[in-house]
Structure formats: C-alpha cells, structure tokens
C-alpha cells in the first residue's frame, strides 16, 4: 500500500482549490496529475505530503492516516520537489543534496556511511557528481532542478512527488528526468503540463479541473480527443505513436 487520498478537500480565500479528490497511486508506478492552470495539482501534492492540512477527507500513507504521523516519519518516506526553489545562501550542490538526509538524522547523530552512500547515489543518478562543489546561484535552471531532484532522491523516498519537474529543462533533460523517475522503484506522483510527456512516461494519469478529478486511468483511456476538448478546451487529434506505442497528441488550430 502506498499513497491514497479519500475525498480530500482544501479551500483558500473562500474558494475550493481541492474539492473532493479520491485517488490512489499504484506501488512503484508513475501517476501523472494533468489539468489546466489552477486545477489544484500543486495544492493536491502539498496535501499529500501534509505541507497543507486537509480541510476534510483523509490522506493515507501505507494505510495510515498521515494526519497522525510525525513530520519526520512522513519525510523519511515521501520526498517533494517543488516547482521552484530559491535561496540566497552560498550553498553548494553537495550541501543541497545532503539536506535530503535531514529526516534520517537526529539533532546530534553523526554523518554516516549510509548517508554518504545515499547522497553519492543521488548525485550519480542525476548526473550531478561532477558539479558537487558548484555554488547554487551559479547553476542553470535545469541544473538547479536536477540538484533538487537529487536532494529528494537522497531522502531515499518510497514515494516521490514532483511538481512540474520538467519546467526549466531542455528537451533532452525533460526526457531524461521522466525516464529516470519511471525507472525508480519508488511510487511517483508527477504534476505535468505536457500531455505528450505524460502519455509517454506515466503509467496512469488523472485529469483535474476546478479541484475535482474528471477521470483517471491509463493514458490511452484518458487522453482522448473528447476529453482534451472538454478539460483543456482545445481541439486535438490523438493517435498511437508508431515510434513508442503510446498516445501522441497533435493540437489543432482553432
């Protein structure tokens, strides 16, 4: 059992941002959250890792209500990569990735070989080993994103939440990162804007609109022409790609 939400609601400024979402992630698979701006994707991710407390409903982690779990216990299992991370501190890539070990360490416990191994593995996976000594503010947007994902991997999560992880990346790194997340043994929930990337990499997708799940299932069932017109308001032609066998969406003008 991994992460699930049961009729979860959250409001801000008198408006329901997340309005009764029930979703379950499959263990070890990648679940894509799709939907127009303001559909509640980012907020839902925050509710799932309890950065915000649900107004009603329940989020379960391994069958337990996360409302009753200590913060550190959640962080040992669930890692979040936010859309943008900013700091003025003169930290290096290594400093950032080492932050991922925070929930695994007590206030005075020393740095262990296990911490080292997790950090090295994360740096290696994200191709950031060679940039470990570089200062954060000298990194490109893509490198910052990869450093943050490496930090999340250093948490050795069983559940990985990513909010628009491909935002600042060039095409090569977009593909690389999603392929890498897909290969991880961890369960992942990824908010994405790019429907074609979602179709290529996600094992399941959920379409959100106005804080509600419109439909959820395998990409080929969900990403249909009718559904895309209904949720995103655009005309599209969907075909099975002859190259990778997944749905491919052609947007049509007008």
């Amino acid at each position: 059992m991994t992460i699930a939400t049961h009729d979860v609601r959250w409001a801000a400024g008198g408006r329901m941002i997340v309005d009764g979402v029930t979703l379950a992630a499959e263990p070890g698979r990648m679940l894509g959250l799709l939907g127009p701006n303001g559909a509640g994707k980012s907020t839902l991710l925050r509710l799932i890792c309890r950065l915000r407390r649900v107004a009603s409903g329940v989020v379960t982690l391994g069958g337990a209500d996360i409302a009753g779990l200590p913060r550190a216990a959640i962080a040992r299992r669930v890692a979040l990569v936010e859309q943008q991370a900013a700091t003025d501190a003169q930290v290096t890539v290594l400093d950032v990735v080492r932050l991922g070990r925070t929930p695994h360490r007590g206030p005075l416990s020393p740095w262990t070989a296990r911490d080292d191994a997790a950090v090295e593995d994360a740096l290696l996976r994200m191709g950031m080993s060679g940039k470990r000594g570089q200062l954060w503010h000298t990194l490109s947007g893509g490198e910052r994103q990869r450093a943050q994902i490496a930090r999340a991997l250093a948490q050795t999560p069983t559940e990985l939440l990513l909010d628009e992880p491909t935002n600042h990346l060039d095409v090569q790194h977009q593909l690389e990162i999603l392929a890498l997340v897909g290969r991880l043994p961890a369960t992942s929930i990824v908010a994405l804007h790019d429907l074609n990337l979602a179709a290529m990499f996600c094992d399941a997708v959920a379409l959100l609109r106005d804080g509600r799940v419109v439909c959820a299932g395998a990409p080929e069932e969900i990403l249909t022409e009718a559904m895309i017109r209904d949720v995103f308001g655009v005309r599209a032609h969907v075909e099975v790609s002859p190259h990778h066998g997944r749905p491919h969406i052609h947007y049509l003008p007008g």
Binding site: R71, L80, A85, V91, P107, G133, Q155
Partner: protein, 346 residues
C-alpha cells in the same frame, strides 16, 4: 565559480580554529581588563585572575585586584556574552526569515525590549512584579509579533519583514521617548538615553550572572537546532517537507532570540549591527552550515564586542563613548556592503 569557505577543512583545522578563537577571546578580555583610567599591566591582570580562580596567591595591590575583578572583568564578561548572544540571534533570524539583513536591532526587537525595560524602570509597569529583563522580554516579544503581523499583512515575503522592522523600530522608539519624556525626571532621562545607546558603564557581576547563563542556554538551544536551520535554506515549506516541525522550531528559536536580545538589552542597552555583521563574517570564514556557523558567530561576536568596548574607552581620551556608537560606526558600512552584495547576486 567554485569558492568554498576559508575554514572548510577537516577536524584538525576546525579544532585549531576553535583553540585559536578561544585564545583570541581570552587575550582580548585580558587587554580589556588592563586598559582604563588606571593602567594595569597584562601580567598583573592574569595574576589577579590566577588569585581569584585558582588561589595562586600572587602579592598584588588590593585596589588593583579589586578594579580588575569587580569592575573590568565583569564588564568584559558581559561584553563577550552580549556579543555572542546578539550574533547568535542575528544568525538565527537570518536563517529563519531568509533575509541577510535580519537581526534584532533592524527588526525592532531591540527597540521593543528597550520600551519594555523603560516601562518597568520609569513608568513602573507591572508594579514591581515584573523585573527589568522580564519587561524587556515582553517588549521584545510584542515588537516581534507586531513586526511579523505587519510583514504578513503587507503580503509576506522576505523583504517585507525589513520594512515592517523599520516601522516597528520607529514605533517602539517613539513609545520609549514618550515614556521617558512624560514620566522621567531630568537625571533619569539622561541615564536612560545613555543606556539606550548601549553602555557597559554600570555593569557588575550580578549582570554577568544573568548574561552568561542566558547566552549559554541560548547557544545550546540554537546548536541543537543547527540541522533544522540548514533545512530552511529553501524556505519553510522545503524545511517541512524535510521533516522539520516548522511551527515548533520557529516558536522555540524566535523565543530564544527574543530572550537573548531582551536580556542583553536590559543589561547593556540597545546595541545595533552586531547581530547583522558578525554572522556574515562567520559565514565568510566557515560557510553556511549552521553546525559551524553558530559557534563561529558566537565566538566572533564575543571577541568583537570585547574589542568594541576597548575602542569605546580609548578612542576619545578621558571619555567613554557608548559602545552602541562604536558598533554602529563599524556596522553601518558593513550593512551597506551586504546590501550591495545582495543586489549583485539577486
């Protein structure tokens, strides 16, 4: 660009730096004790300390020994404690608020503590049930709460807190002036105004017996939260997602900061810029990790304040400058440099 901290090395180098820092602090206190209207040789100073601390039995003039022990050493110890506490407070506030300009003085916490202390001292607030430092603590907490609310009301963000701090400082300084002008007699008013600028003049051992435990306890609390502070590098949400109990950590550390600031303000007055400048100097030397930054800030703050006290006593012959004036003379240009650097990296 790869630029590590200067003292980024292994255990050996860190141990050496620690020993060196302690030696410099002891030497600075030794010099501070030797300097004054009655010049006392450094050797006599350490002999007097040997007599009192170890029962060494050097034959010294009781007047010299009295001056060293009762007047100058207590003063130097309080200077060191207040420097350490203010620098620690600055480092904590800069980390939690993610603003390089945050410190108790800039954020109006010192002004609030002054108002609280003056309210007890002159207006008789609390009717004798509240001590001077208790009043200062209440003032500090009120000022910080007000400044936080103002900043949140102005839309939050790391820059608003400084603007809110300006407003808070003005308000509480005005309140202090109001209390002084309406309730104090001329002699009290003069004393308060001198104390407000920061003064180690009347400091004796009872003050050190308050300052030292508060500085030490504050240091222990802060160092236990060093990793939590590191987790705030990318903000409160990032810290929470790393398993930090953000609300509890903030309450404990803001409380510790308010207590340290209030205690020091109630003893030595409102001393600015130490909390601002020292953490930056420490960061330059040991890097941004709080496990090193906090001890380094405390040590450098202590040394800086003892040296500032020496400068305040010798810069004008026959006259003692308020120590707050000295720290501001060093601090204000440093503030400008930090501002300039923040602009460049933004």
């Amino acid at each position: 660009m790869i630029r590590g901290p200067i003292l980024g090395g292994g255990w050996g180098l860190r141990a050496l730096a620690t020993v060196l820092a302690v030696a410099v602090l002891v030497a600075a206190i030794g010099v501070a004790v030797s300097i004054g209207e009655m010049a006392i040789p450094l050797a006599t100073t350490f002999q007097a300390l040997g007599n009192r601390l170890l029962g060494a039995g050097f034959a010294l003039s009781p007047i010299q020994e009295g001056v060293i022990w009762d007047y100058r050493l207590s003063r130097a110890v309080v200077a060191a404690c207040s420097g350490a506490a203010l620098a620690l407070s600055g480092a904590i506030l800069q980390a939690l608020l993610r603003n390089p300009l945050a410190e108790p003085y800039v954020l109006g916490i010192s002004a609030g503590a002054s108002t609280g202390a003056v309210a007890v001292m002159i207006a008789g607030f609390g009717g004798g049930a509240v001590s001077l430092s208790g009043g200062a603590f209440i003032g500090a907490v009120l000022a910080f709460a007000l400044v936080s609310l103002l900043a949140a009301g102005a839309g939050g963000g790391t820059d608003r807190i400084i603007l809110a701090g300006v407003a808070g400082s003005q308000l509480f300084n005005a309140l202090t002036s109001y209390i002084v002008t309406t309730s104090a007699n001329a002699e009290q008013a003069r004393g308060v105004m001198f104390w407000l600028l920061g003064s180690l003049g009347g400091v004796r051992w009872p003050d050190a017996h308050v300052a030292a435990p508060v500085a030490l306890a504050g240091f222990v609390i802060c160092i236990l939260h060093a990793r939590a502070l590191d987790a705030f590098t990318f903000g409160a949400d990032a810290a929470a997602s790393l398993g930090i109990a953000v609300t509890r950590v903030r309450l404990v550390l803001f409380g510790a900061t308010a207590a340290m600031t209030a205690t020091m303000v109630s003893i030595v007055g409102s001393i600015g810029f130490v909390g601002l400048v020292i953490p930056h100097a420490a960061r330059f030397l040991v890097g941004p990790g709080h496990a090193r930054l906090l001890p380094a800030s405390a040590m450098i703050g202590a040394i800086f304040m003892v040296l500032a006290d020496i400068v305040s006593r010798i810069i004008i012959p026959q006259q003692i400058l308020p120590i707050g004036v000295v720290t501001a003379l060093f601090g204000a240009p440093a503030f400008a440099i930090i501002l300039y650097r923040a602009r460049r990296t933004a």
